[in-house]
Amino acid sequence: MFELPCDAVKMIPFERIHSEDRLFAVSLPWSPIDHLNRSVGKAGILSPLHVQKTGSDSFRIVIGFRRYLSCRTLGVENIPCFVREQKDELALFVEAIEDNLSTRELHLLEKAHVLLKLRHVFKLNDQALMEDFLPLLEIRADRFHLERYLGLARLSESLQRSLLDPLEPDIALKLSKWKDQEQDFFLGMISRFQLGKNKQKQLFTLLDELRALSMQAGSIPGAENLERIWHECGAADVERDLNLSPSERFSRVVEGLRRLRFPRLTEYEHRYEDLKAALKIPPQIHFQGPPYFEGNRIDVRFSFADPGEMLERAQKLEDMAQTDELKEMLDLINKG
């Protein structure tokens, strides 16, 4: 039964509140609270903390961990609090969850830690989590999602911190299978190239598959192995090339990794591009081969502004049709 804090608000000295007891915490201790600091600095604590008495002169926080941290940052000496009489710890934690949900959007990691705490501290079973708490946290109520969130809560702290920005959760879960130094290597790349979601995925997929290939060939997983792949594909040199923009550097890195991952395919692609270059196609004519050689046609697009230009392009196409290069390009596509 929900127990309303009917006592008057008490001013409790900062040092009598023990924030290290995080039984009821929903927020993460390292989540940024700059915005809250500004608000508390300007207007003070508008909404009192909820605390529970733990000794004759000591308290623990039920609701208000972030506000407490702001008070510490701002040097507030006395904090307005409701002292809760409720003894049922699960009921208080549920209240804390609901209070947080009513005032802000929870980060997925906060939701993940709430679920982990409910399972391991409050000993709730999966059925209770799925029936009562996943819907409350606006998570689809099935085991797949439950396991995914619990997996996020079990990530190393460095991966969890990276999840705040910029690491993608799906990649974080996969990355957790790598060794710590390998994780650092990848996180370093994300930050160096400032990669968004799709590029993170692209880089991770290539590295992860090359890593798996090298392990199947007998390499020992570790940062040295990734460094070796990085050097072997030429990425280390590309990184040092200051004439390239970060996005150009990333494209070259991907190209190098792709060459290692798909040696036969990229060899064909290079042969095709070499032949295409030998045709000396004017910029007004565009050749587009089938993606990944799947298909048997080359699309041609050309532009012209008058009948003369049209004839000129047609003549060029006719000339190209007679060349060995074009024949070889078609053979590459059709015959392999």
Partner: protein
């Protein structure tokens, strides 16, 4: 093959009296059995609890198939433009899921009902087939049971093959194909099959079988079973599908083909199909998660127009050409066809692009 041993059996009440149900329950004494009105709650439970694949397979469901058993092969139903050269094949879904664990198996990411399921209303199945065959007396049907399940791996439990083989023996416009990676052919031996059942095996070199086709019968066991069937007069088939690229693939596939023809007379072989490794990107993720030591998802697979990933075309065409050459060296006349490949590949590998009707007809001629 590692025999299937469920932990629990659910039986739909409507098929409790079925001979298939009786066969299964007689052969699995001691396995806890529960009667159920419908399988719907099991589907809801699986969606909610998301059990692991091996866990799901520990439950065997004896169910009443409420839809159509008999359908055109999904390959032929693909959208125009994404469709390969099809062979006018039909499928009977008498069961769904497979207890064997091939790393590349598409069922892992295809079935939304993850339990081992056998449809026990075989009277409805036979009635449906009779109606279909009688309704198209001038058509000839080639029908397989190996789309959503292995045709024979559970036959020691169900005895389904006896019902089907004896039924097809009496048909004038249909042949049955039983496709398997097992050596469960005991029920077939001694049956009056009338040459209307082709027993076929998916084959790969021993290296691939040992690394990637877990719980299946060994290549030697499969070949022994094929020999026994051929000796009983059954036409036999082989499916070199999926062809797998790895450093020793040429030696290994050549040896495999030589071994097949050494053990089985070419005159007993109805057909051999070839198909390259293919997978959706979701299956690729599943394989990497479930079989981290599998080398298959690390091949040079690229997206194809139908959304599946395959070895890029020049690579797989090279494999097809070689395999075809080795088969031709052993038997110039054995029918060979490619599964789920487009006209471009057919033209370059087989020098012809048959229509669905033409290829279907050619394959039927191999049996009748």
């Amino acid at each position: 093959m590692k025999p299937y041993q469920p932990e629990q059996i659910f039986v739909e009440r409507s098929i409790e009296g079925s001979p298939i149900t009786k066969n299964v329950l007689d052969r699995l004494p001691g396995v806890p059995t529960r009667s159920i009105d419908s399988t719907e709650f099991l589907l809801e439970e699986s969606q909610r609890w998301n059990p692991t694949i091996p866990r799901s397979k520990q439950s065997l469901i004896l169910a009443h198939h409420k839809g159509k058993f008999f359908k055109p092969c999904p390959g032929s139903r693909a959208k125009e433009g994404l469709k390969g050269v099809c062979c006018n094949y039909f499928v009977i879904n008498y069961a769904s899921n497979c207890h064997m664990e091939c790393s590349y198996c598409y069922l892992q990411s295809y079935l939304n009902f993850p339990y081992m399921t056998i449809y026990a209303n075989q009277v409805d199945l036979i009635t449906e087939l009779k109606t279909a065959f009688a309704g198209s007396p001038h058509d000839f049907f080639r029908i397989g049971t190996g789309e959503l399940a292995d045709s024979l791996a559970l036959d020691w439990l169900t005895g389904y093959s006896t019902v089907l083989v004896e039924f097809f023996a009496r048909q004038t416009n249909a042949v049955l194909e039983l496709k398997t990676k097992s050596n469960c052919v005991e029920n077939l031996l001694g049956l009056e099959h009338g040459g209307k059942t082709v027993v076929s095996w998916s084959m790969n070199p021993r290296y691939v079988q040992e690394k990637e086709e877990h719980k299946t019968s060994s290549i030697s066991q499969r070949l022994q079973a094929a020999t026994e069937c051929a000796e009983q007069g059954y036409p036999v088939g082989f499916h070199l599908d999926p062809l797998i690229f790895y450093p020793a693939w040429e030696t290994d596939y050549r040896d495999l083909i030589e071994e097949i023809f050494r053990r089985i007379p070419a005159s007993s072989i109805a057909w051999i199909s070839v198909g390259s490794l293919r997978m959706t990107s979701s299956l690729k993720d599943t394989i990497r998660r479930r079989f981290p030591s599998s080398f298959l998802p690390l091949g040079e697979l690229v997206p194809s127009p139908d959304g599946k990933m395959r070895y890029f075309k020049p690579l797989r065409m090279g494999m097809y050409r070689q395999v075809l050459r080795w088969i031709r060296e052993k038997s110039p006349t054995t029918q060979v066809y490619a599964c789920m490949e487009g006209p471009g590949v057919w033209k370059e590998v087989f020098q012809s692009v048959p229509t669905e009707a033409e290829l279907g007809e050619e394959l039927i001629q191999c049996v009748v």
